[in-house]
Chain length 446, copies 2
């Protein structure tokens, strides 16, 4: 958020008569919009067909040569850590060393699930959170009766919340700033409550605010496992590590290096993938961390698979190895204009009105709009009736509940440029209409 | 097993002097073998490079067309059940209808893990086996103190055992016959012990005996969920569904049809994959079952992934759709001679001696050899010293423990034809040597 929402903008200084006139004008425009049979969608956090086409050369790139650099026949079974060149690719994307990375299957979310489930039931950074399966038995344990809590920066990524909830882990929302999570609160909770076992992070172009965690925030996060109860994990979902709009891109502090300095390496697990670099559904996922972390995750993997898809790993290494930035420039050329359109239209329509603030990310997949309190659902509903589908208000919060009901997540990548523009126009109209109505109602209630 | 092992063969009728002379001859030959610097391996249940090359056209087969038959852009996120043509391919392989099949990622073992873990913690065919997470809470439950047991036909597949053990589930070994598991014992256990919650099955070319479950056995298995306690599952790992040596291939009774007749459809979950049809590490895995089963598994998948690799599904559908049998004939041409070499050499070397029996599978990946009681480890060790690596005796039993120590699993596919022949010669020599020594020791102890 570039600035806190101020309620002293132009609209709140208007007279009731001015507001009523504005309401009539907005309603007229809104009725026109509703009659236009629009069918627009800003909910889909996935690449456009244009972006996907950047990687169409993947299929066929092997040209009959299925052998990895270490001689591995990628067509056959085995190799849970991935082939060397795929680990190198993961390291290039995540800013790590190849030996810190496991290259796996097509989903980093699966690796996050594996990590949390392992920590919960078997132990990853020390003993199991629930103390059961780590003892080699399925049976109950007294410690299972203790709650286990995850710290969840909000607004955040709904799939993190769904995953956490499915494992029976409670969630404590943490406010986001432009520098990342509110670290004073995170540190206080971690120190005072031994039930707190992990912190979810999307450190670069955070989903959905688009902020980049500041160096100080990253260093404080890296030290958390020192202050926390046994088994605490930083879950570092670096999904947008290279998804920049500007080149050279802004840096992100290396959390694993910070952790190594702090002696907390076993407490930080990193995730990445090529999903929004090559194909969203058919890329390569990565998990990274300390030697202990990789050993334990590999041991878990060995129970459930004979190995990941090494052929696809080889395809990706041959296609992207050494040219990730070039690929991301090409993505940026397609994605950046959509973000700029949102910024331009929201500024032109709502600038100075004091009814909304929004983020101006320089990468990633999302823009966050803050409305006046308790108006987000109303805006989403108005937009829906006018043919513009928005992510349900609250989706960015654990349990789908935003207590302030003021956050709207925009995902512009999948739609065409003109669709993004048209949808944003409607959004701005709906925000202003809902805000004017609210101000009028408030004034009349006096 | 074509016949039980008889101890009245030629060797046991020999005099001590004859046995001692034979021992000297065998030891001479064994010393020669040990001096030959052999390096042979019959442990690897994976395809040879020759077999893998049959599918080299997979990479590049899409020719830039990434669109599935229903219009899905396979490059993007989504679609947990798989694209239609991949589900059709799974159905073709497994002898089912496409709507009964989910096409997933590269590993059917992962789908087995998901299935057992879901049944254990969330419930699949009724309530969760351990009664915990199904109640929406992570906490302990009184029922967790009850043991949970899996019935495991032996000899069997070690990865089934490892998976089961990792989930804290106990294992009860069940003897195998030529018709499949000893069903009298299975039925008795299922009816008498409510802790028994599942039965592992490899119904065709069973790993490692190579038998095909008889129609009567399949029907009895399909009815088990009626007789068992709530939540019982038949885990039907049809890994070798089309891996035949003879065409037309021998039939396998359709367990899901039998279950539908018996009203037990929710209690049977089927698995298959293209792993040994196309690439062992980069194929497509399938899980199949009732509508309820697919709904529940899809719900679990949705927590841990945004979708499986649909691009690879499309490759496989385009490459294999409608020509699975043709592909398997080509595999058979490469695999069958290795099995025939084992049969020929064991028959010539050990036939009539009464020291071993072995299976003569007409498909699949393994041959099982039964030695005299308590000799398998000794044979494996002798062969190892002569440069022939065999799967550790006991690996085919839960916990790696074969109480009779008499079963050796041979996996001939990966080795070259002449290596299979050389290794089998050594194996036969080691079996006879160990047996002669044992008979001599027994006789001298009298």
């Amino acid at each position: 958020m570039t600035a806190p929402l101020r309620h002293d903008g132009a609209l709140s200084g208007s007279t009731d008569a001015e507001l009523a006139a504005r309401e009539r004008e907005l309603e007229r425009r809104y009725r026109v919009a509703c009659g236009s049979n629009l069918d627009l969608d800003l909910t889909r956090g996935k690449p456009s067909a244009d972006q996907l086409a950047l990687s169409d050369a993947l299929d066929g790139i092997l040209d009959g040569d299925y052998t990895a650099s270490d001689g591995t026949d990628t067509r056959n079974y085995g190799g849970l850590r991935g082939i060397p060149e795929a680990r190198t690719l993961g390291a290039e994307i995540m800013g790590l060393r190849p030996d810190q990375v496991i290259a796996a299957g097509n989903s980093s979310l699966t690796l996050m699930y594996l990590t949390v489930d392992t920590a919960l039931r078997y132990g990853l950074n020390g003993a199991a959170w629930d103390g059961a399966l780590s003892r080699g038995a399925r049976g109950a344990s007294p410690s299972q009766e203790r709650p286990i809590l995850a710290l969840c920066p909000v607004p955040g990524y709904d799939r993190h919340f769904t995953l956490t909830e499915a494992l029976g882990i409670g969630m404590t929302p943490i406010g986001m700033t432009d520098d990342g999570p509110d670290m004073d609160r995170v540190e206080a909770l971690v120190e005072s409550d031994p039930s707190v076992k992990c912190l979810w992070c999307v450190p670069k172009y955070s989903n959905p605010t688009g902020c980049i965690y500041s160096p100080d925030t990253v260093r404080r996060i890296a030290r958390l496992p020192q202050r926390a109860s046994e088994g605490f994990l930083v879950l570092w979902d670096n999904a947008y590590a290279v998804h920049d709009f500007d080149f050279p891109p802004p840096p992100l502090e290396n959390v694993l290096e910070c952790a190594a300095e702090a002696g907390t390496e076993d407490g930080v697990v990193l995730f990445g993938s090529t999903s929004k670099i090559s194909f969203a559904g058919a890329g390569v996922g990565f998990v990274a961390g300390s030697p202990n972390t990789l050993d334990r995750l590999e041991a878990r993997m060995s129970v459930m698979t004979v190995g990941h898809d090494k052929v696809n790993q080889l395809r990706h290494a041959r296609f992207l190895g050494g040219r990730v930035r070039e690929q991301m420039r090409a993505h940026a050329a397609r994605v950046r204009p959509k973000f700029e359109a949102i910024e331009r239209i929201l500024s032109e329509s709502l600038g100075g009105l004091g009814v909304a603030v929004w983020t101006r990310p320089r990468g990633g997949y999302f823009v966050t709009v803050n409305t006046l309190p308790h108006l987000a659902s109303e805006v989403v509903s108005l937009a829906g009736a006018a043919g513009v589908t928005l992510t349900p208000a609250g989706a960015t919060h654990p349990g789908g509940h935003d207590p302030e009901d003021h956050i709207i997540r925009l995902a512009p990548t999948f739609a065409a440029d003109d669709e993004v523009e048209a949808a944003t126009e409607i959004l701005a109209l709906c925000i202003e209409l809902a805000s004017v109505r609210k101000l009028l109602a408030k004034s009349r209630a006096k």
